[in-house]
């Protein structure tokens, strides 16, 4: 399995690098939307702190802004909301080619997602570091190291959620609808739309009944020091195991429904 993942990842990494060389403008354009989102959130959070006594808020202003920058960086780098991409291959029938390959479907999908992500790492990393220094936030190496340490677990959880949605698509045609139905609650409950550090504890505890806060809120709070790293990793591992079991069960239940028609 690991060897399959490595081979598929390497192939897609090299393909993506070649593609980027011929379309460098695509690198810039891919950062436009996240930069716009970050700018809007920064203005909104500034307005929140101007209108409400900062002492009545659950986090200080600097932490909230670091949260926004880091969540945007993680969203761009890890490429959330891949459910529709995975599911589209099933809906269109291209999954047939994946199933006849000498690699498992999961290994193929992991490699196809991971390779391009590694190839496109430089621009978001540079943009993130530039954004942090322009904003004057001098976080020590420990902050960046903790974020880096949690990237594999974040990516695993996001991939498994997408994989579960894709497996459900084996039973229905509407991959787009399933992807959208997942994507927006994911953005809301992970802290991408509203930093969960500002949300009342009751609502935050409700969000933590889902795996979505493990994608952004939990890693960022661990890096900021408000949550212990081992506690954060334990919660993430719990969700990885739970989602992994669900994805395996769903896949094996739904794969028998595939009818491959020739001719």
């Amino acid at each position: 399995m690991l060897r399959s993942i490595a081979r598929v990842t390497a192939a897609h990494y090299h393909a993506e690098k070649c593609r980027r060389l011929t379309h460098p403008i695509a690198v810039v354009s891919s950062l436009l939307y996240p930069i716009g989102r970050v700018a809007v959130l920064m203005f909104l959070v500034q307005a929140v702190y101007q209108n409400r006594n900062p002492q009545n808020l659950l986090a200080d202003y600097q932490s909230a802004r670091i949260y926004i920058l880091t969540s945007a960086f993680l969203t761009v780098t890890l490429g959330f909301n891949n459910a529709a991409v995975l599911a589209e291959r099933i809906r269109s029938g291209l999954v047939v080619f994946d199933l006849v390959r000498p690699h498992s479907w999961m290994a193929t999908n992991i490699g196809e997602r991971l390779g391009p992500r590694l190839a496109n790492l430089i621009a978001p990393v540079l943009a993130f570091l530039l954004g942090m220094s322009l904003a004057g936030y001098q976080q020590g190496p420990k902050y960046y190291l903790m974020i880096t340490l949690m990237v594999p677990t974040i990516w695993s959880i996001e991939f498994l959620i997408s994989y579960i949605i894709a497996s459900i698509t084996l039973s229905t045609q509407n991959s787009w609808g399933l992807g959208v139905a997942l994507a927006w609650p994911q953005q809301l409950l992970s802290g991408a739309m509203v930093p969960l550090v500002l949300v009342p504890h009751g609502l935050r505890n409700l969000a933590y009944l889902t795996p979505f806060p493990c994608l952004l809120d939990l890693p960022i709070r661990a890096a900021l020091g408000t949550v212990a790293l081992m506690s954060a990793l334990r919660i993430q591992v719990f969700w990885i195991i739970t989602l992994g079991v669900c994805s395996k069960v769903l896949y094996h239940r739904n794969i028998v429904r595939i009818r491959i028609n020739g001719g």
Partner: protein, 242 residues
């Protein structure tokens, strides 16, 4: 989408979930602040709903324009020009999105829930509807302008993407942005003109007459500019692709 009933239901649920999530985020943020710059959480949801409604109506009416850069790059604009009518209606109708009708229906429900109940008059409601229509005209004109630049762009026209990014600034009160950005979002790009100014005139934050002058001027200006640039670009179209 319409082939199978369950697929349609999934699409409908997805659309509802999308709007519920985005409007909940707005309400939550405004509630945490206890209101932002005299906009209550309900006012914030109303503004965000109007913004989404403008987007949904745009998808019904003129989203087909977004295909123009791709058609120019591939040379497929020839097929559109072969139709026995002007190319604009063909572009507008080719990518008509019927699911946007569902979008609109859901948003109208939210609009009714969050509609301001105090300080309204018949004149302000009529002015709001008229200003929203003019705002749509301004958006159409500016969108036509940005996609028409593809007639000149040799590599890739990024203006439609930049315009799309600036839409993210739309669902929130303009008072949260610095003055320089507000000027850009009002007079250069029709962001405030399409949504915020009509809502401000409805809720008496801006008097109706100055709001009408700003929105009317922007609508006429962007429509004329967009149409002129499109026609000039069409004359230099060479059917060779890029």
């Amino acid at each position: 989408m319409f082939s199978y009933r369950e697929d349609f239901l999934i699409g409908a649920v997805a659309t509802g979930v999308f709007h519920l999530s985005s409007l909940s985020a707005v309400y939550l943020l405004f509630s945490i602040a206890g209101g932002i710059n005299d906009w209550s959480p309900t006012d914030g949801v109303f503004l965000a709903t109007v913004s989404s409604l403008r987007f949904a109506l745009g998808k019904i009416g003129f989203w087909g324009l977004s295909a123009l850069p791709r058609l120019i790059a591939s040379g497929d604009l020839d097929r559109v020009l072969l139709y026995p009518c002007t190319p604009i209606p063909v572009l507008l109708l080719r990518d008509l999105d019927p699911l946007s009708v569902l979008d609109t229906a859901i948003l109208l429900g939210t609009l009714v829930w969050s509609f301001p109940r105090c300080g309204l008059s018949t004149l302000s409601v009529i002015a709001f509807v008229v200003l929203m229509v003019l705002g749509l005209v301004a958006t159409y004109g500016f969108m036509l302008l940005t996609v028409s630049l593809s007639f000149w762009a040799k590599v890739r026209n990024m203006f439609p993407q930049v315009f799309r990014v600036l839409w993210e600034f739309q669902p929130y009160p303009m008072t949260i942005y610095p003055t320089s950005l507000r000027v850009v979002l009002t007079w250069v790009v029709p962001i405030a003109v399409a949504v915020v100014i009509p809502v401000e005139s409805l809720t008496s934050r801006t008097p109706i007459l100055p709001a009408s002058l700003i929105v009317g001027t922007a609508a006429v200006g962007h429509y004329v500019l967009g149409t002129v640039v499109f026609r000039v670009g069409l004359r230099r179209y060479e059917s060779t692709g890029q």
